[in-house]
């Protein structure tokens, strides 16, 4: 994710690198997953379980988030966003 510039012979393109929003999403959801998983394993009281009829919400959500984050990061690594190198780009258009 840090190899920013990459030039191939004919069409000069570069990876979007850390700018790939998928990396940000995977990182945030992954962190959430870890925190929820730990909370689910070590910080779950009987009252918490009773709230949701015995379901350990944090544990399962945490696991789900980790799976999602891994899949998203895998997608970002396998199919990186390629950005054409700007040569003759017009200035930004948003006012």
């Amino acid at each position: 994710m840090s190899d920013d510039t990459r030039t191939t012979g004919r069409t000069r393109k570069r990876k979007a690198g850390a700018f790939d929003v998928r990396t940000f999403i995977a990182a945030l959801i992954g962190l959430y997953g870890v925190i929820l998983l730990l909370t689910g394993l070590f910080g779950t009281s009987e009252a918490d379980l009773a709230k949701a009829d015995g379901l350990n919400v944090n544990l399962w959500t945490g696991l789900g988030m980790l799976v999602f984050a891994a899949a998203f990061q895998a997608w970002a690594v396998l199919r990186p966003v390629r950005v054409p190198v700007p040569d003759d780009q017009p200035a930004s258009e948003a006012p």
């Binding site: 929003v21 940000f24 918490d48 988030m65 054409p84 200035a91 930004s92 258009e93």
Partner: protein, 556 residues
């Protein structure tokens, strides 16, 4: 607001919320640094895959209004709320992609009011820009009010203190995040909201005894089994006759209100306008349509669960009172989620409300500085001057939003209020656009007279309805549907009449703005034919249409 409603957040929850804000700022800073290292941010924005712009398109609309309003509607009316997605939003998004986008993109305008100015001149432009700016301030007020509600519930501050603090936070966030990071943050926001609402829905379903348990509980509730079918939706519209109710939903909500909203709202359309080709511009709303179809399952269903599971709402509903439907989700979060997941839920809600308000405020800015101030007040000033005007407008808009938040707080179901507003502004706008795009004879005078007459008549219907005077026996969202329908019809009739007695514009000036005067090559994207089928907007739109028709038949 019920004093008893408090969420007991602990340090884990605050950590999760803080992490979210850290990422928001991180994206903003990364975006800013990238600009200075020669890769133009907007270039990378324009070369992003279509799924990103498509999600940003949906996300820009996934504000408090959508999440709180639609779950409130779910608790109040049940499955009929799905109409907002399957009759309302999705068909309108597909229509925008296939029919309207070629005009917007092909004419190279940068804002919706700008299209108005080029088609009809300054009269209609002024009306459009002013009404859009006013609508944004009112809607920003709704978002701010809901944001303050969460802060109040979380920290126990009074509503007015929460309002001022929440406004200050949004102001800082808008200034720091900036416009450049908006699209990335909207995509991130989408996933955080799903991460908050999907588990909530699943836990809720578990608690209520699965889908069967929910249907049973809803059948036994005061709303009865009627709340489990989407048609005819008489409770939603407030019409006694089922036939009229269906007509009201299809024409009022589906055609006029939703088409008006999705096809002329600058906040939405802007995202597709910034695409790199006609094919991507058209793809943006089409791709957005797919997640949009399934959002009601994690918004409306939790609302329905809250309607039967949350004591405060269920008992009040059974007693025939007016429960605080707007708080449905907050109650459900309090009842079901343990610390940890609670933090994710709070982060999701805050994300949604702040981004919603930030979108309103920044859209207001753009239109105020460029379409109003530069066009009509001070023309040829240097660029920095207008940037400064924009900054001041941001502060002004935030202060005004605190005031309009007060108006929003007086409605028990925020959706009633919002649909009323949309009827005033969007329905006539849609009529003028569609007529102007397909009828070259329509004149500049007809442009603004039609808009004023349409908005005027919608306000007239609202005043006569149950909400104010009660002369017409209608209230709630049915009144909004009728007002929108009347506004649309009045706008069309007045525009045609005025056009026939005034001089049309020179047809040469309307090239690219009117269907029959535009060479068809302008609308065609040569590259589109070489793309694989799943990247061609028309084919994907057809698939989306089939899917949404299927969903509509699911809850007959």
């Amino acid at each position: 607001m019920d004093e008893a409603l408090r969420l007991d957040a602990n340090w884990v929850d605050y950590l999760l919320v803080a992490l979210y804000f850290g990422f928001v700022l991180g994206i903003g800073l990364a975006a800013r640094r990238q600009v200075s290292t020669s890769l133009d941010f907007f270039l990378s924005g324009r070369s992003l895959p279509a799924w990103v712009t498509g999600l940003a398109f949906v996300s820009a609309n996934l504000g408090a209004v959508e999440i709180v309003g639609m779950s409130a509607n779910g608790a109040n009316y049940g499955i009929a709320t799905m109409h907002y997605f399957w009759v309302g939003a999705v068909p309108a998004m597909l229509f925008l992609a296939i029919v309207m986008m070629p005009f917007y993109y092909g004419s190279k305008v940068r804002s919706v009011p700008e299209f108005m100015r080029r088609r009809f001149g300054t009269g209609a432009h002024l009306v459009n820009a002013v009404s859009f700016a006013v609508a944004q301030l009112l809607i920003a007020g709704i978002n701010l009010f809901l944001l303050a509600t969460v802060v109040e519930v979380l920290l126990g501050w009074s509503l007015i203190v929460s309002l001022v603090v929440a406004a200050a936070v949004v102001l800082t966030y808008t200034a720091l995040g900036g416009l450049s990071a908006a699209i990335y943050n909207e995509v991130l926001q989408f996933f955080v909201i799903v991460a908050a609402l999907l588990p909530l829905t699943l836990v809720g379903l578990h608690k209520v005894g699965g889908w069967d348990g929910l249907t049973q509980a809803v059948t036994e509730s005061p709303g009865g089994a009627e709340q489990l079918s989407s048609w005819p939706g008489t409770a939603l519209t407030g019409f006694d006759s089922p036939v009229l109710s269906v007509v009201g939903i299809v024409l009022g909500l589906g055609f006029v209100l939703s088409f008006g909203y999705w096809t002329t709202n600058f906040v939405e359309v802007q995202r597709a306008m910034a695409a790199d080709s006609m094919a991507s511009a058209q793809s943006t709303p089409v791709i957005g349509a797919f997640p949009k179809m399934f959002i009601p399952f994690i918004v409306v269903i939790p609302g329905m669960i809250a309607g039967v599971l949350v004591t405060e709402i269920a008992t009040e509903k059974a007693a025939g009172g007016e429960p605080a439907y707007n708080d449905s989700l907050l109650y459900l979060i309090r009842d079901l989620l343990p610390n940890g997941m609670l933090g994710v839920a709070i982060a999701g809600l805050l994300a949604s409300f702040m981004a919603g308000m930030a979108a309103n405020i920044s859209a207001f800015n753009t239109v105020f500085s460029y379409d109003l101030w530069q066009q009509y007040v001070k023309k040829d000033e240097p660029d920095e001057y207008y940037t400064r005007v924009g900054r001041l407008a941001t502060v002004g808009a935030t202060v005004i939003a605190i005031g309009t938040a007060g108006i929003a707080s007086s409605y028990s179901n925020i959706m009633d209020y919002l649909q009323t507003l949309f009827g005033f502004f969007n329905a006539p706008l849609f009529a003028t656009f569609i007529l102007g795009m397909f009828w070259k004879r329509m004149t500049a005078t007809a442009g603004w007279v039609g808009l004023v007459a349409g908005t005027g008549s919608a306000i007239g219907v609202w005043v006569l309805s149950g909400d104010v005077l009660g002369v017409i026996g209608l209230s709630g969202q049915g009144a909004a549907f009728v007002a929108a329908g009347v506004a649309f019809a009045v706008d069309i009739v007045v525009s045609v009449a005025v056009s026939l007695v005034t001089t049309p514009r020179r047809y040469d000036d309307l090239r690219g703005l009117v269907w029959s005067l535009t060479p068809k090559e302008t609308f065609r994207d040569e590259d589109a034919e070489t793309l694989p089928w799943w990247r061609q907007p028309t084919k994907m739109a057809a698939i989306a249409l089939v899917m949404v028709i299927g969903l509509n038949l699911l809850f007959l």
